[in-house]
């Protein structure tokens, strides 16, 4: 069973959480080209490896938080920085 580290409640069972998808890079400046904007809007990262993603503790404290999770092993790593 996967447990996720809620910053408020600590390690909790994954059934309490809702996945919020991978995080996006920072929103581009207004001067970007159309194709760069579409890329930012529609193209997610999809690695065989660590993905930085958001989770919502919906059936708990309600907090949103970001973790790094491996898409094959489900290993959860510390965020950079």
């Amino acid at each position: 069973m996967l447990t996720l580290p809620c910053p408020f409640c600590g390690e909790r069972d994954e059934t309490e959480f809702v996945n919020g998808g991978p995080t996006k890079p920072p929103r581009p400046d207004i001067t970007v080209t159309n194709s760069e904007w579409i890329d930012w809007l529609t193209v997610p990262i999809n690695p065989i490896g660590y993905v930085e993603e958001k989770w919502w503790h919906a059936k708990g404290c309600g907090a949103w938080f970001t973790i790094k999770r491996h898409t094959v092993t489900h290993d959860i790593a510390k965020l950079d920085g």
Partner: protein, 416 residues
């Protein structure tokens, strides 16, 4: 060579069935082809078949990392249906269902095709509204979807004893999709492979594509495999969940994410359910195989995944919700579970398209791609041969992301 018929069956019986020709030929890998198809799964092999049959393009190599038909064509719940929602999706899936109906004859291969109706069990009014909308759109496109009441539902599915007036989610009605069918998934892969091979296409198993190669002018040049470099005029990536893994080797990023969708089967029992039962409010669906096993599918894993197993929580969810409607199934033992990696665009509609790299094609975003195998191969072959999308696949190009003109589909498994 080796056409299956009553005569050849009797003829080969004389030699104790020792002299049947192989389904497909294993020939040496050449240096160059007209078309390379990456992935010998349902869609890839169907594409090779229709390239040869409809467009006379036979200098084709289908490259497969593992073994033929070992990917998602072996990892689905064999449901064939066309009860989708959108005007853009319906003609495509109606085409696929009609191709499936004549497929055994087209391929000269017994697919054990069994048309048996799908019944959607409805337990909430929002779902009832959504499904009535699908019914009306189905009328427009020739996909039947007819309401039945609860008494008729229980008459047709006697094993469905749960969901009474006092339950958590009482059943309020049901919908019958008459065109729905099941067929043998391995038969689809082998039938297409046999047909493609006898028409001249080559199938190379255990040939893993490591990267895509681009010429100096940016167009596609070929692929780098574990058996060396293979050049081609056109390359099609038809590898389901690992599409981005391959296209990113040529610097092409696509608007899809990969997920794991799993299913499991029970021990074989006597004939019990003769339709496909889908419970969209609970997120579980099942049918009974010819062997008698109940084939049960549930929801995808939350979050991106490249695993091929079933998560305990997903498994428990599917079993618990199924037992709400089929309490008698609690005595069944479960035999096997499996998962498959699929990719999906955020509008849940497939992508059959040319890409930004000239002469590189992708067919991805298949979620419930088994039912789409014939039409997916048919339209991708059309696109590769003519350069233009087939009329039923026009809405499925990558252009819809450039123009933010999405086809948001709720008729797929994910949208539950």
């Amino acid at each position: 060579m080796g056409k299956f018929s009553a005569f050849t069956l009797a003829w080969n019986a004389l030699s104790h069935h020792q002299n049947w020709p192989r389904y497909w030929q294993n020939v040496p890998l050449a240096k160059k082809y007209d078309v390379i198809i990456i992935g010998a799964g349902g869609h890839g092999l169907a594409t090779a078949h229709y390239l040869a049959k409809n467009h006379d393009i036979t200098n084709v190599a289908v490259l497969e990392k593992g073994w033929l038909g070992g990917g998602n064509i072996a990892r689905n719940t064999v449901t064939i249906r066309s009860n989708y929602l959108r005007d853009e999706s319906l003609p495509f899936f109606v085409k696929s269902v009609s191709l499936f109906e004549g497929l055994a004859k087209d391929l000269n291969f017994n697919l054990m095709y069994s048309k048996r109706s799908m019944i959607d069990v409805i337990q909430t009014y929002p779902k009832m509204r959504e499904i009535r909308r699908r019914m009306m759109n189905g009328y427009l496109h020739g996909s039947s979807y007819n309401p039945i009441n609860v008494a008729e539902l229980r008459r047709r599915v006697p094993a469905l004893t749960g969901g009474g007036p006092k339950s958590r989610l009482p059943i309020i009605g049901a919908m019958v999709h008459k065109e729905a069918a099941v067929c043998r998934h391995d038969g689809v892969a082998w039938g297409y492979a046999r047909s493609a091979s006898r028409r001249g296409a080559e199938i190379h198993q255990h040939t893993e594509v490591k990267s895509l190669l681009r010429a100096a002018d940016g167009t596609i040049k070929g692929v780098e495999t574990n058996r060396g470099t293979v050049l081609a005029d056109k390359v099609a990536v038809v590898v389901s969940g690992h599409t981005t893994t391959i296209t990113e080797t040529a610097g092409l990023r696509l608007p899809v994410k990969s997920f794991n969708l799993a299913a499991f089967v029970s021990e074989p029992v006597k004939p019990l359910v003769d339709v496909i039962v889908n419970c969209p409010d609970l997120g579980v669906y099942l049918n009974q195989s010819d062997k008698g096993e109940l084939v049960i599918g549930g929801a995808p894993d939350p979050g991106q995944s490249f695993r091929r197993d079933m998560k305990q929580t997903v498994f428990e969810d599917a079993v618990v919700t199924m037992l709400e409607l089929f309490p008698a199934f609690r005595r069944l033992k479960l035999l096997r579970q499996w998962g498959g990696v699929l990719d999906i665009a955020h509008d849940a509609t497939p992508i059959i398209s040319q890409t930004d790299i000239p002469r590189l094609f992708v067919s991805c975003g298949w979620w419930g791609g088994f039912k789409a195998v014939p039409a997916g191969g048919y339209t991708l072959a059309h696109l590769i041969a003519t350069g233009q999308p087939h009329e039923v696949a026009t809405p499925f190009t990558l252009d819809r992301f450039r123009h933010l003109d999405f086809v948001v589909e709720s008729g797929t498994t994910t949208a539950r």
